[in-house]
């Protein structure tokens, strides 16, 4: 079940990200990135990171709401992208991604000693005492995000 779910999500990610890269239509690219984010949230659930899956889905809803608000403007002005993927660009990105994969695989195949985690000391129960700065950072992130989006939505009414 785990393996089949992984292969389904990874196939969706590969297909939609390749479509996103080589599509000339920007509106389709925006829809493709939504599907990519959704499949990535599935992978996060497989990796026991449900919180980040939730954050991804939140990002999907925000991007989708902005997109739905500006679809008429997008249809008018953003349809064609001047995407010029030359051979040198493709080759350089391929080499860099291969290097990333090789270095990460070296790290992954190394036999690291198992960390001794004391879950009584290091757990989410002490989040409010030990990890309070991180919690404050998350709260500030969301407040900044919602404030900026509301400000932009007010300001960009003249464009559409």
């Amino acid at each position: 079940m785990y393996d089949s779910l992984y292969y389904i999500f990874s196939a969706i990610i590969v297909i939609t990200s390749i479509y996103l890269t080589f599509s000339k239509n920007l509106l389709n690219s925006l829809f493709a990135v939504l599907v990519t984010l959704l499949a990535c949230s599935g992978l996060y659930v497989l990796l026991n990171s449900e919180l980040f899956a939730l954050l991804n889905i939140l990002a999907i809803t925000i991007i989708a709401s902005i997109m739905l608000r500006y679809i008429p403007y997008l249809k008018k002005n953003l349809l064609v992208d001047e995407f010029n993927a030359t051979d040198s660009n493709l080759l350089s990105s391929l080499i860099i991604s291969l290097l990333t994969a090789v270095i990460s695989s070296i790290l992954a195949s190394t036999r690291w000693p198992a960390p001794e985690i004391n879950f009584e000391i290091n757990s989410f129960a002490l989040l409010f005492s030990k990890y309070l700065p991180a919690l404050l950072a998350v709260i500030i992130t969301f407040s900044v995000l919602f404030t900026c989006i509301s400000y932009l939505l007010k300001k960009t009414k003249s464009i559409s």
Binding site: Y2, D3, Y6, S10, I13, V14, S17, L20, T21, L26, S29, L30, V33, T36, L37, C40, L43, Y44, L47, S49, L51, F52, L55, N77, L78, D81, E82, F83, N84, A85, N89, L90, S92, S93, L94, I96, S97, T100, A101, S104, S105, L107, A108, S109, W112, A114, P115, I117, N122, S123, F124, A134, A137, T141, V144, L145, C148, L152, K155, I159
Partner: protein, 100 residues
């Protein structure tokens, strides 16, 4: 073949390469932001894979939250810059017009 950490690393590197390809090839501001989102997804996927597939470590989640915090700030800055660019130049392409 059972799914291991290398599978997630493969997907992460593929996403990183495609995002980099978009960033260096595209001339549209929105598409460049999409490429940056792909690169960010690859980094977070690698981080989550390394922190969860062998042992669960709660501290890695805190580091991931901080990474997401900075990414959201970066994305908001890019969105505002893109908005100001569109407002000023009335176009989304970063390529200068050859006719001028």
């Amino acid at each position: 073949m059972p799914v291991g950490i290398n599978h997630f690393v493969f997907i992460g590197s593929l996403l990183f390469g495609l995002g980099l390809c978009i960033v260096i090839s595209s001339r549209n501001i929105v598409k460049i932001l999409l490429g940056i989102i792909l690169m960010f997804l690859s980094s977070v996927l690698n981080f989550a894979a390394f922190s969860n597939i062998k042992w669960f470590n709660p501290e890695s989640h805190i580091i991931l939250l901080v990474v997401i915090f900075f990414f959201v700030l970066l994305l908001i800055t890019g969105y505002i810059l893109a908005y100001n660019f569109v407002k000023k130049y009335k176009m989304l392409s970063l390529e200068p017009d050859n006719n001028d």
